[in-house]
Amino acid sequence: MKRIGRREFIKGTTGAAAALAASFALKPSPVRAAKATGSRPRKVIVIGFDGMDPKLCDALMASGAMPNLDALRRRNGYRRLGTSDPPQSPVAWANFINGAGPGSHGIFDFIHRDPEKQALPFFAAATTVPAQGSIEWGDYRIALDFWPFNHKPERTILTRQGTPFWHYLDKAKIESTFYDLPSNYPPSPSEYGYHRCLSGMGTPDLLGTYGTYQLFTEDGPEQTVSKGGGDQSRIVFNGNTSGRLSLQGPKHTFLKEPKPVQIDFVVNRDCDARAAVIEIQNQALVLKEGEWSPWIKLVYALSMPSVLPQVEVAGICRFYLQEVAPNFRLYVTPINIDPSDPAVQITEPFGFASEISRKLGLFYTTGFQEDHKALSHGVFSDDEFVRQATSVLRERERLLDYALREYDDGLLFFYFSSTDLQSHMLWWESDRRHPTRSLAEAKKYFGHIKTLYRRMDAIVGRLLKRYGDKAHILVMSDHGFANFERQFSLNSWLRDNGYLGPAEASSIMSDVEWSESRAFGLGINGVYLNLKGRERFGVVEPGEERNRLLDELAAKLEAVRDADGRRVIEKVHRSDKEYKGPATRFAPDLIVGYARDFRASWKTCLGSITDRVLLNNDSAWSADHCVDSSLVPGVLFSNRPIAAADPRLIDLAPSILAHYNLKIPGTMSGRNIFKT
C-alpha cells in the first residue's frame, strides 16, 4: 500500500477545497492572499551553484560557451552577487538563509573558539550535546527517553541562530522545498508543515564525521591509520585469493566505553580476470578493476543487554576496486546515512528522506560528497577524483529531475556542490606553479572546470525551457574562486611580531604562554584578541587598548608582502564595525581578507605555529575562496530583470518574501532587488 504524504493529501483534496471555497466565498486565507501577486508567477526556483565564479562565467558567456546564462544576462538578469564576510560557505549560506549578516546567525567561520576555555576550537555550525541521565547495566549505559526515566539521549543541535526566511513562507502557508541546503544540519523544524528540507553541507556520515573513506591495500599499514577524512588498512590474502576485512561503523554509544561497531566482509580476487568478488551481509558484488559498485545497504548491529532488542543502524556505501594485483586496492566511500531508513534526522520532516529514496533509490547524504580528502591523501589520482565527482553530479542531476517532477508550487531550492568542491581541487587560472600538477596538467583540469560550467549552463537551459516565464528562476552562487598558491601562517606572523609568545611556541592549543599573548588566529579568517574579561586568560584591556591594538594589527597585516613583493592581505576588517545583530558572541575581532593566490595556512586553522610565515601550498586543494570578500563575489542570474546594481546574498531572502507579497521582517538587513 502506498503511503500518502501530506503533500499528496493536499493535492488530492485541492479540488474539493476549491469547490468549498467557491461555494461559501470564504474570507481570503493566507494561501489566497499569497497567491495574489499580480502577474508574477507563484513558482520560485532557486538553483544554488556553490562557488560559481563570475570571472569565469563572464569569459565563458563571452565565448558563447554558456548560452543559457548569457540569455539571462542579456535580459538584464545578471549581476555579481556580494558575498559574506568572510566568504566561507557556512557563513555565506547562513547569510542567505537569514537575509542578514553573521551578526544575526552567529556563524563566523568553519571553526569557532570557546572564550571560557581559552581558544578551545569547536565546529561552528552544529554542536553535540551529551546525554543527560542514563541507567547503567553491565557494560552498557542506556538513556531511556520515556516516562518515568525521561533521560535525554545525546543529540546534535543546529547552532545557527535567527529566523530562516522559509519560516515566513511556512507561516503564510506557502510551500518551500530545499534540497541539499547547506548550514542547516540538523534541519530546522517546520512550524506549520509547509516547509521541507534535505540537509546539505554540514550533514555528517554514519561515523559522525564530515566524511571518512576507508582504504584497504596490500601495502597498507598493519594497524589502521586514520588520517583526517580517511582510514587506511592492510589486507592480507589467504593463498593470494581471499582476504577478510572489517568496515568501520558508528561508535556504539550505548557502551560505557564506546567503541566503533564493524561489519566483517570477505574479498575474493581473481588476478587473471582482473576482478574481485566482495561478499558482505549476504550480498555479492562483482567488480572489475577500476569499477564502482552501486550503493550497498549495510546494517550495523549494536549489541544490547540480553533483555533488550538489538539496535540496528542502517548505512550505505559504494566500493571502488582500484587495483587487483600486484597491490590490491579497495576504496570504500564514507558510510552515508541510509536515506531509505535514516538513523538520524537529515530531513524535515523526518520521513522526507525515505520518501525521496522510495522513488529515486539511494543517494549521497553526507554534506561533502566529492571525496576531496581521497585526492589530497593521494588515494585518488586526478582522473579518479574527476570520475567520482562526475558521478556525484550525475546523481544530483537525477535528484533535481525528481525534485522538479514533485514540484508544483511555492519555492524550490536546489543546491549543487560540484562547482565548489571540484573547483577547490581542479581550478587553476594562472601560469604560475601549481601546488601538485605540471602547468599542462593544471590547464587540462581547469578545462574540466570550464566543461563543468557548461554542464551547469545546460541544466539552467533545461529549467528555462521547462518553465519559461511560468516560474521566477534564480541562479546564484555564494562566492567565487581564486587560486591558492601561498599559505600565510597567521600565528607565526603574530609570534614574529611580538603578539604571541613565547618565541618557541608550536601551537595555541599546547604551549602558548597566554600572559604574554595579545592575539591569536583560529579558523581560516579570524583573529582574536586575548581580551581581559572575555577570554579565560585575557590580558588586553577592553576600551582604548583594545581599539589601538585592533587598528595596529589591521594596519600591519595589510602591509605584509610576499618575497616577490605581492600583497598577501587585501583588507583586514574590524568585526565590531562589520557585524550587527544579537549573535556576535563567538565573532572574531578581526577578519583577515587575503589577496588572491593567498590564504591562511592549513596549520593556522587549528592554531598551529610554523617556523616560516609564508609557505607554498603543497596540497591538491589548490584553489579557495577564503580571501577578501570583495575579490570573490558570487553570481546572480534571474529570468526577471534585476533592479539593484549591487545585490548581495542577504538580499535574496527579502526578495523572495517580497515576491510573495510578504512583509520583510526587521531582522533582515537585505532588501528587495527586483522591481515591485
Binding site: 589467504n238 593463498g239 580476470a273 555479492a284 562483482v286 572489475k288 569499477e291
Partner: protein, 279 residues
C-alpha cells in the same frame, strides 16, 4: 534422502503447474491487492480444511468445559480451592485443545508450505530491471583444477560486464551481466560438453522468480521449487541469482509472509462463526 528429494521434486512439479494456473493473475494487479486477496482466500480455505480434518465435536466439548471453568472462577472468586482447581482444569483443557489441533495442523503443513513456496516466487524478490546489473553465482562440485572449460553462452538479452571471476576457496564462479531486454530468459552455462540452464526474469511488473537452480539437497529443492534440482553427480552444484529486494511493507521481501499470516488469520476468525468452525 533420494526418496525425499523425489517426493519434493514431484510435489514441486505439481505445485508449479497448479501455481502457474491459479496465481497467473498476480502479474496483472498491484502486489498489495493480490497478496491481500490470496491471504484472505487461503485463510478461509485453511479454516474449512481445519473443520473437516479436526474432531469438531470434541473441540466443542473442551471449549464448553473451558467456558464453564472460566465461569466458576468468576462466580467463586472468594474460594481459593475452586479457583485453583479451575485453573488446573483450564490448563488441562488448553492442552487437550492443542492435541485436537495437532492432526489438522500436520495435515495443513504440506499445502501451506507449498503455497508459501509458490508465493515466495512472486513476492520474495523483484525481477531485474533492464540495464540493471545481474550477479550470477555458479557453485561447483569440483575444484577448478578438474575443470576443462567453463563458459557462459552469449545470450541475446544480456551482455557480460564482468566474469567469469573465480572464488577459489569456495569453488564458486561469478559473473556480472546486464539485461538488455525484458521477459523470461534462460542463461546457459557450458562446462565441458554439458550445458546447465538457469531462468532469469527481467521486467518491471511482478514476475515469478527462481532465485536458485537448487542442488540435490532436500531443503534446497523445497525452498527453490521452480527449477529442477541439479543431479548430485553433476559438475555444477547450484546456480544462484542475486535478485534485488522488493521494497514494500506489505508485499516486499520478508514482509509479505508476515502480512500473509496476519490477513489469513483475520479472515479465518471473521469466517469462523459463519462457517461454524470451532478452533
Amino acid at each position: 534422502m533420494d526418496f525425499l528429494l523425489s517426493v519434493v521434486s514431484g510435489l514441486n512439479s505439481a505445485s508449479n503447474a497448479v501455481g502457474g494456473l491459479v496465481f497467473f493473475w498476480i502479474a496483472r494487479v498491484p502486489g498489495e491487492l493480490s497478496i491481500t486477496i490470496i491471504s484472505a482466500i487461503i485463510g478461509v480455505l485453511l479454516l474449512i480444511l481445519f473443520k473437516y480434518t479436526s474432531n469438531q465435536k470434541a473441540i466443542g466439548r473442551v471449549r464448553d468445559e473451558i467456558n464453564a471453568e472460566l465461569l466458576a472462577i468468576k462466580l467463586f472468586k472468594d474460594s481459593l480451592r475452586v479457583t485453583f482447581v479451575s485453573q488446573a482444569r483450564l490448563f488441562w483443557g488448553s492442552l487437550k485443545l492443542l492435541a485436537y489441533s495437532l492432526i489438522p495442523m500436520l495435515i495443513m503443513i504440506v499445502p501451506v508450505s507449498l503455497v508459501l513456496a509458490q508465493l515466495g516466487l512472486w513476492y520474495q524478490a523483484r525481477a531485474f530491471r533492464i540495464g540493471e546489473p545481474i550477479t550470477v553465482k555458479l557453485q561447483l562440485n569440483r575444484s577448478f583444477d578438474d575443470l576443462t572449460a567453463l563458459e557462459l553462452e552469449p545470450a541475446p538479452g544480456f551482455e557480460t560486464v564482468v566474469g567469469p571471476v573465480r572464488v577459489f576457496s569456495k569453488k564458486e564462479v561469478y559473473w556480472k551481466l546486464r539485461a538488455l531486454a525484458g521477459g523470461e530468459h534462460r542463461l546457459v552455462f557450458r562446462v565441458g560438453d554439458t550445458a546447465y540452464e538457469k531462468r532469469v526474469a527481467v521486467g518491471a511488473s511482478l514476475m515469478r522468480l527462481s532465485r536458485k537452480r537448487p542442488s540435490s539437497q532436500f531443503l534446497d529443492a523445497l525452498l527453490h521449487p521452480l527449477e529442477t534440482p541439479l543431479p548430485p553427480a553433476s559438475t555444477v552444484r547450484a546456480i544462484e541469482l542475486f535478485y534485488p529486494s522488493r521494497d514494500s511493507k506489505i508485499c516486499g521481501t520478508n514482509y509479505w509472509i508476515i502480512y500473509f499470516f496476519v490477513v489469513s488469520m483475520v479472515f479465518a476468525f471473521v469466517f469462523k462463526p459463519i462457517l461454524k468452525v470451532r478452533i
